[in-house]
């Protein structure tokens, strides 16, 4: 096993009586890009703030490159200089864009001329060389984010903590920012980013973890869908792909995340006539053994959804053998509305 850049053990964070973070174990391998996926308010920013040593945890231990955080002020300062966090809504200092990018270099005692050269180079990378002399607080949200990225990368950190790095970045610059993030490990920077979009995590990260309600899992939850809960015939539904609608039992409406526990998904050869409100016909796209369980991935997407819509069912080895399931075989995935966990959304 390689050396982890970040190691977290038994971490909790309370704000008053409210526990916002409860992470048993979490590691980020050095030289990797990791993503933490979770809805807004799931504790992603708090986690990054703690890893950036900007905020102390309530309990638990954080190790950066094997060195525990919080032992002494000088040690923390040394560690902090290897880490940079880019906030979701970055603060722009009241000076020029170039002045902002030079800030971290000046803090490290880099000479004026060298700082200017490196800052200009970082601005070039994010496509803002032309804006060097602009007044930074007047930038648009997307430009401010790219400036913040340049400001962080100019100091060549060993660990970059990026909070929602692609939010607010317009489509034109999205690929550019993604490329910059992808290139970071080659430049010696480990990346941990957060996102509320599963696809961003899949596209950028080597490893994904999910953070829901403050608790972190080192894998993405299976059957995690994002969408908008709307009403259809007086019943809450969420469209997860063209022609695919989940039936829900929740008073919540609006943008939300839905997670279906794979153990509650039933596989049926016949289109089911049952009390379950959700029944999707599809084909078996993948089979994987997991101990005495079998993970069956059913693609229930219609041809119009090119990426497919995978729904994972976890069944026992025994029922797998009895049903004699085959790859590519047509099958229905069935689950009850009450088996769906809903995150986010607002009470209607």
């Amino acid at each position: 096993m390689t050396n982890p850049a970040v190691e977290v053990r038994g971490l909790t964070k309370d704000y008053g009586p409210r526990r916002v973070l409860d992470v048993d174990r979490f590691t980020v391998e050095a030289g990797s890009i990791s993503a933490v996926v979770g809805p807004n308010g799931s504790g992603k920013t708090t986690l990054l703030g703690i890893l950036a040593t900007l905020e102390p945890p309530t309990s638990g231990e954080v190790l950066l490159w094997g060195e525990p955080v919080g032992r002494s002020r000088t040690a923390d300062r040394r560690l902090r200089r290897r880490v940079v966090m880019v906030h979701e809504r970055p603060w722009m200092f009241h000076t020029t864009v170039l002045g902002n990018v030079e800030y971290g270099l000046a803090s490290r005692g880099v000479g004026r001329r060298e700082a200017r050269r490196r800052a200009a180079e970082a601005l070039e990378r994010v496509g803002l060389a032309h804006a060097a002399e602009w007044f930074a607080p007047a930038l648009s949200a997307g430009e401010a984010r790219r400036t913040a990225l340049a400001r962080a990368l100019a100091v060549e950190p060993d660990l970059a903590l990026l909070d929602e790095p692609l939010a607010d970045v317009d489509a034109q610059h999205r690929t550019g920012v993604e490329r910059i993030i992808r290139e970071l490990p080659a430049r010696g920077t480990t990346v941990l980013l957060t996102t509320h979009r599963l696809e961003t995590a899949y596209r950028l990260a080597d490893r994904c973890a999910s953070l829901i309600g403050g608790s972190l899992r080192n894998t993405l939850p299976d059957n995690h869908f994002s969408g908008t809960i709307a009403e259809s015939d007086g019943e809450p539904v969420m469209a997860i792909a063209p022609g695919c609608r989940l039936h829900l039992a929740t008073p919540l409406r609006g943008p939300a995340h839905v997670v279906i526990d794979p153990r509650t998904v039933i596989l049926s050869r016949e289109p089911a006539h049952s009390s379950a409100r959700n029944c999707f016909a599809g084909r078996i796209a993948a089979l994987a053994a997991e101990g005495d369980r079998v993970r069956v991935t059913v693609d229930v997407g219609v041809p119009a959804s090119p990426r497919g819509v995978p729904i994972v069912a976890l069944i026992t080895d025994r029922s797998f053998r009895e049903m004699n399931l085959q790859l590519g075989e047509p099958i229905s995935a069935v689950f009850k509305t009450v088996a769906l966990e809903v995150y986010g959304g607002k009470p209607s």
């Binding site: 703030g49 950036a52 900007l54 300062r77 902090r80 200089r81 880490v83 940079v84 966090m85 906030h87 809504r89 970055p90 603060w91 200092f93 009241h94 800030y103 971290g104 000046a106 803090s107 490290r108 007044f135 607080p137 400001r151 962080a152 100091v155």
Partner: protein, 231 residues
């Protein structure tokens, strides 16, 4: 009515002729007020930032005490310092009583709580992201403080202006600690009090007008600085 107009006309004549007495008092008023404000700023702003950003036991108590000190009457400060500075007092050996330096000391004591309380509020009013951004970019404590000062410069400047305003117009301290000695410790405010009491109303009015004009000019200057500081 006629009397009032006559007094005013005489006052304007005096002011127009730039009476040496008026100019001298004005220069002293400006001098001691500026010096005491500078000293109060040098002490109050760092304390305000440190308390505003710090998390420690007794912070609320300290803030409450600071706000209570804002209501300190100038006469009381004058009295306390008078007893301390008089020749048999605790600091009598400094031989400061009835010197401009005594006025500076008194005005410093007057301005310090105000400047500190407003600087504290200014520091707390700065967006918390300023500190976090500075820290994550590797800034040490001094640089963080400097950055907070720079990002909240408008509010910090307002603290300085308020401090200057408080000391520039006060009478009690200047009177009790300065002694209103002509050509030495006579400030504009003590001169107004004296001349009016003597019946020299036109001179009193002339001094009052001069005080007002200078105060206005200083505030306009600060306003201009503030506008430049907060685009």
């Amino acid at each position: 009515m006629r009397w009032t107009l006559e007094q005013l006309a005489e006052a304007l004549r005096l002011l127009g002729s730039l009476d040496r007495q008026v100019l001298g008092a004005l220069a002293l008023s400006l001098g001691v007020a500026t010096l005491s404000t500078v000293l109060a700023t040098a002490a109050g702003v760092p304390i305000g930032i440190a308390v505003g950003l710090g998390r420690f036991r007794g912070k609320r108590l300290l803030t409450t005490v600071l706000h209570a000190l804002l209501a300190l009457p100038t006469v009381l400060i004058g009295l306390v310092l008078y007893t301390a500075l008089s020749s048999r007092g605790l600091l009598g050996g400094w031989r400061l009583l009835y010197t401009p330096a005594a006025i500076v000391v008194g005005q410093f004591v007057l301005a310090l709580p105000l400047v500190t309380a407003l600087a504290l509020a200014a520091a707390e009013g700065v967006d918390p992201r300023v500190r976090l951004t500075a820290l994550t970019l590797g800034a040490g404590r001094w640089r963080v403080a400097r950055t907070i000062l720079a990002e909240g410069r408008g509010a910090f400047l307002a603290a300085v202006v308020a401090g200057f305003g408080r000391v520039f117009g006060e009478v009690g301290i200047s009177m009790m600690l300065g002694g209103n000695i002509r050509g030495y410790t006579r400030t504009v405010t003590t001169a107004i009090a004296l001349e009016t009491a003597k019946g020299e109303v036109p001179l009193g009015i002339a001094l009052g007008l001069a005080l007002m004009i200078v105060a206005l000019a200083v505030n306009l200057l600060f306003l201009h600085l503030r506008r430049r500081a907060t685009p």
